[in-house]
């Protein structure tokens, strides 16, 4: 089944100062798919991800050319805060705010103007359930979030992103600091979220990409080398460089 594209980039070039980090990226992300993005360090994966919700612009020397469309609309015409409500991101290391579990998740709805206590309660519970964390924390919502384990914190971050009601969720190496069991739980959550969300997973772990994603993109030195169905990319890559990377000849 090929569904319509939700994100399209055309000739996307990204620069930090005079350093070009991404070179002419043309890529489509389909609605409700999990797109894996693999490649060695410094290949531009994270920059690509952060270009999609314009977080790159927090760095003052950043500039980009080309276009990115979200549902057919140019990103530049969407206000940053509305864009980031639609495209949420999970960072590499679990980053929780030093407040309670409840407040961490309630923060998003609060800044988007939801004030009714009942509604916020409902959103928090729903988000935690969808991130597979509810059972573990339902009795201690008012405890500091930093007391959770790393894996729980990462699922809390997923819940926090879900609570603002995004269409797309970006994951920037979400399991790099987690043990295998916590990793499996995060991957489970991603599989369940497929029904409602489009997800893009940047990972250094090629095995994770092959487990989770349907299509996979291989980035190298700022270029998109190959993009295809995950099975095909891992078994019959078209480009020799992809073959070299996934068979572990470099990277």
């Amino acid at each position: 089944m090929v569904s319509e594209p939700i994100i399209q980039t055309a000739d996307l070039n990204c620069y930090f100062g005079s350093l070009q980090v991404l070179k002419g990226i043309n890529l489509e992300v389909r609605r409700n798919e999990i797109l894996g993005v693999i490649g060695p360090s410094n290949s531009g994966k994270t920059t690509f991800l952060r270009a999609l919700n314009r977080l790159n612009y927090l760095v003052r020397t950043y500039s980009q050319t080309g276009t990115i469309l979200l549902g057919g609309q140019d990103l530049g015409t969407i206000r940053d805060n509305l864009l980031r409500k639609k495209i949420g991101i999970i960072f590499a290391l679990p980053q929780v705010l030093p407040v309670t579990i409840f407040e961490n998740i309630a923060y998003g709805p609060k800044v988007h103007g939801i004030t009714s206590r009942e509604k916020v309660d409902w959103i928090v519970e729903e988000a935690l359930k969808r991130a597979y964390l509810w059972e573990e924390v339902k009795d201690r919502l008012n405890q500091p979030a930093v007391k959770l384990s790393g894996g729980q914190q990462q699922r809390l971050c997923i819940a926090r992103t879900l609570a603002v009601g995004p269409e797309v969720i970006l994951y920037d190496e979400p399991c790099s600091g987690l043990d295998p069991i916590s990793t499996a739980k995060v991957e489970d959550a991603m599989q369940q979220l497929k029904v409602d969300y489009t997800q893009i997973l940047v990972t250094n772990n090629t095995k994770q990409a092959s487990r989770v994603s349907e299509r996979c993109a291989f980035f190298l030195m700022g270029e998109l080398v190959e993009l295809g169905p995950t099975d095909q990319l891992f078994t019959k890559p078209k480009d020799k460089r992809t073959d070299d990377y996934i068979t572990g000849r470099f990277g």
Binding site: L58, R84, K85, F91, Q95, L97, Y107, V111, P144, T161
Partner: protein, 282 residues
């Protein structure tokens, strides 16, 4: 004991003694003031107006005056200082303009307080027609307090991890929401420390209020912000040097009240700080 341990022992002792050398003068000053002044601090001294050319009675108007000036100073300098720091840390780009602002802040803190007094006199008292008044004095003290408040607030804001800002922005919060909910709350303890430090200094300054607000002898309480008031540091200066034959005990008692007032302010800030730290652990 081997050589290294002996050397470590000697080093620790020297460091300990040096630290003690900081504490000793403070303790001596306080003890000296308390011993010489405590006898004169009576209920009447704290609550009555001065009588007989300040040779008798109390210092109530001066206490009220100093409290009013501290509150006035805070009203002017705290919002301005914190908002300036927020602008410099969160919004401003690094360009000639902001570098000039930062340079001015540093230079302001180096200006002698008497110069602030003269500036306040020409600016607020004469040019703006505020007269010698609480308003003019508070504004003058406020400007003097700004550099410390701005510097402390800036450092407090800069020490908030940038990940908090990134989390907030990535959830679709606006810049201001991010500052308001994810940065300022964590900077409050540091801001408080700087504010109380500079307000303590403002409470004890004589020179800036000399021409802008302080009354030599005014046994009644002010009725509006355009009235003059007595203030503890200036009163202390007056009874110590300007009026002959005033019992030394009264000077020490006045000093004791001033020191106690500043100490009380510090105490309040310590409690506030502990309160905010407990609410947000990081």
């Amino acid at each position: 004991m081997n050589g290294a341990k002996i050397r470590q022992h000697i080093a620790f002792s020297v460091l300990g003694l040096l630290t003690l050398a900081i504490v000793v003068p403070i303790l001596l000053v306080i003890v000296y003031i308390v011993v010489n002044g405590a006898g004169a601090v009576t209920w009447e001294f704290l609550t009555a107006a001065p009588r007989q050319g300040m040779k008798a009675g109390g210092i109530f108007p001066a206490i009220v005056g100093t409290i009013l000036l501290v509150v006035g100073t805070m009203l002017f300098s705290l919002p301005l200082g914190v908002l300036s720091a927020v602008y410099l840390v969160e919004y401003a780009h690094d360009n000639l303009f902001t570098r000039m602002i930062k340079l001015s802040v540093v230079n302001l803190s180096g200006i002698p307080s008497i110069v602030y007094g003269l500036f306040g006199f020409t600016m607020f008292v004469i040019l703006l027609h505020f007269g010698t008044s609480i308003l003019a004095g508070s504004l003058t003290l406020g400007i003097m307090s700004l550099p410390v408040i701005i510097t402390a607030s800036k450092e407090a804001l800069e020490s908030v991890p940038s990940t908090y800002r990134e989390i907030s922005l990535s959830l679709g919060a606006t810049k201001w929401q991010t500052v308001r909910y994810c940065v300022l709350p964590y900077a409050i303890p540091g801001i408080l420390t700087g504010t109380v430090l500079s307000l303590s200094r403002a409470a004890g300054e004589t020179a800036p209020i000399l021409f802008t607000v302080a009354a030599f002898y005014l046994p009644r309480l002010p009725r509006s912000i355009f009235d003059q008031v007595m203030a503890l540091p200036y009163h202390l200066y007056v009874i110590s040097t300007q009026v002959p034959n005033i019992p030394l005990e009264l000077s020490f008692a006045t000093a004791l009240v001033l020191v106690a007032l500043v100490f009380l302010m510090n105490l309040v800030s310590i409690f506030l700080r502990a309160h905010y730290r407990k609410k947000r652990q990081w």
